[in-house]
């Protein structure tokens, strides 16, 4: 860890950081806008699978926590969209491009939750992965974005503990059938989250625009390792079985090996849309249409 911090301090990619008003190349501005708008969309669409469950939460305190999480995520959409807006990409564009099928969605947001029991372990995997990802990105070079991430991380911490508590409750107090759903959910979602971190590092990952500009700080494989090391012990502690085929740690090197990701299938899913993709597109389009008049009034654009 110390080694890594030293590396970062000396990393020439991270030597120059930018405020909104600083001179920057068009290439940098476009790349920063892309990172921020991509996350804004992920936050706003990523909340929909949870939103679906708002009226079906089987417990009052749990419902309060879920509503808080949903509001948080929409707030994260707002702060990251603000960053993108200041770089020239409006929030209308972010949503309209998605509604028009022009933008791709992260693989994990193409699915919904079939049962209440699935939500805890799936959200725990998602939140822990997001935290690992954000704690790396917040070391990046575009300061308005890194500040937005630091605000987001505080709230993600709450989502993580909510998901942990929900999974714990089912593992401790649930029926055998419910615990089996948790196990299934882990086995299903773990590989999806492996894919979420992106393709394995090729020898050309240093040429990636985001990486070159220090917007993306660490490599996909580094982040994947960091996440597995954090989350596998958490699930074992909960009583979920993590088979060696799925993930196992080399005692000597500390390196994790993990199940092979089907990258062709993952690419196909993102290109063609997963089980819930069309529903989310329709939801966003419907929302844009219903709210058009109010949106224009709120932004004083109404003719």
């Amino acid at each position: 860890m110390t080694e890594q911090v030293e590396d970062r301090a000396q990393d020439p990619r991270l030597a120059v950081r930018y405020e909104r008003w600083d001179e920057m190349s068009d290439e940098y501005r476009t790349a920063a806008a892309k990172v921020a708008s991509f996350q804004a969309l992920a936050e706003l669409v990523g909340v929909l699978p949870f939103n679906e469950w708002m009226d079906r939460v089987p417990d009052y305190a749990r419902k309060q926590m879920l509503v808080a999480k949903i509001q948080d995520e929409v707030g994260h959409g707002h702060v990251t969209a603000r960053v993108a807006e200041d770089l020239g990409v409006t929030r209308e564009e972010i949503l309209e491009d998605f509604a028009a099928g022009k933008t791709k969605l992260l693989n994990i947001f193409h699915y919904g939750f079939a049962t209440w029991e699935e939500i805890g372990p799936a959200a725990l995997l998602m939140n822990s992965a997001a935290i690992v990802q954000f704690q790396s990105l917040d070391q990046g070079t575009y300061l308005p974005y890194t500040r937005a991430l630091k605000k987001i991380e505080k709230e993600e911490g709450f989502h993580y503990h909510h998901a942990l508590d929900l999974t714990h409750q089912i593992m401790q107090e649930g029926e055998a059938e419910q615990r089996a759903i948790v196990q299934d959910a882990f086995d299903t979602w773990f590989p999806r989250l492996l894919a979420y971190f992106g393709p394995p590092d090729s020898d050309r990952y240093h040429d990636n625009v985001g990486y070159k500009f220090g917007l993306k700080v660490d490599s996909n494989d580094d982040l994947r390792q960091r996440w597995i090391a954090k989350i596998v012990p958490v699930f074992r502690e909960l009583g979920v079985h993590v088979s060696d085929d799925l993930a196992s740690c080399d005692e000597e090197s500390g390196e994790w090996s993990y199940v092979a990701v089907d990258w062709a299938a993952s690419k196909k899913l993102i290109a063609e849309g997963g089980p819930k993709y069309q529903e989310w597109v329709d939801t966003v389009r419907g929302s844009l249409e219903r709210n058009e008049r109010y949106r224009k009034a709120a932004l004083a654009l109404a003719a």
């Binding site: 008003w21 605000k151 009034a297």
Partner: protein, 101 residues
């Protein structure tokens, strides 16, 4: 594309967290058609966790901010050793030592 510095709907947001003795700090920005709507947007987005005792929104255009060329002037503080408590203290210690000698 250009930085929307002239965006008339942009408001910078400042919050005081941790009690009335704490500084009011910059946290980010919101958009709104007027200051009151902007204040409510800021309340929803930026006061979701710790208790907030002050929430300010300021039209972006009203902010006078430093530029890169001001940096040298602004960073001079620590270069003026004579403004720091250690400077007179070190003089006093040196004087005491020479008295003893």
């Amino acid at each position: 594309m250009h930085a929307a510095d002239d965006d008339p709907n942009a408001y910078e947001v400042f919050v005081q967290i941790g009690g009335s003795g704490k500084p009011v700090q910059y946290v980010g920005s919101v958009r709104g058609a007027d200051p009151v709507l902007a204040w409510h947007a800021a309340k929803e987005v930026f006061t979701r966790r710790e208790d907030c005792t002050q929430l300010w929104v300021v039209p972006r255009a009203a902010v006078v901010r430093s530029d890169a060329e001001d940096e040298l002037v602004l960073a001079k503080g620590s270069a003026r050793r004579y403004r720091l408590p250690s400077y007179p203290s070190s003089r006093r210690r040196m004087r005491s030592r020479s008295e003893v000698a």
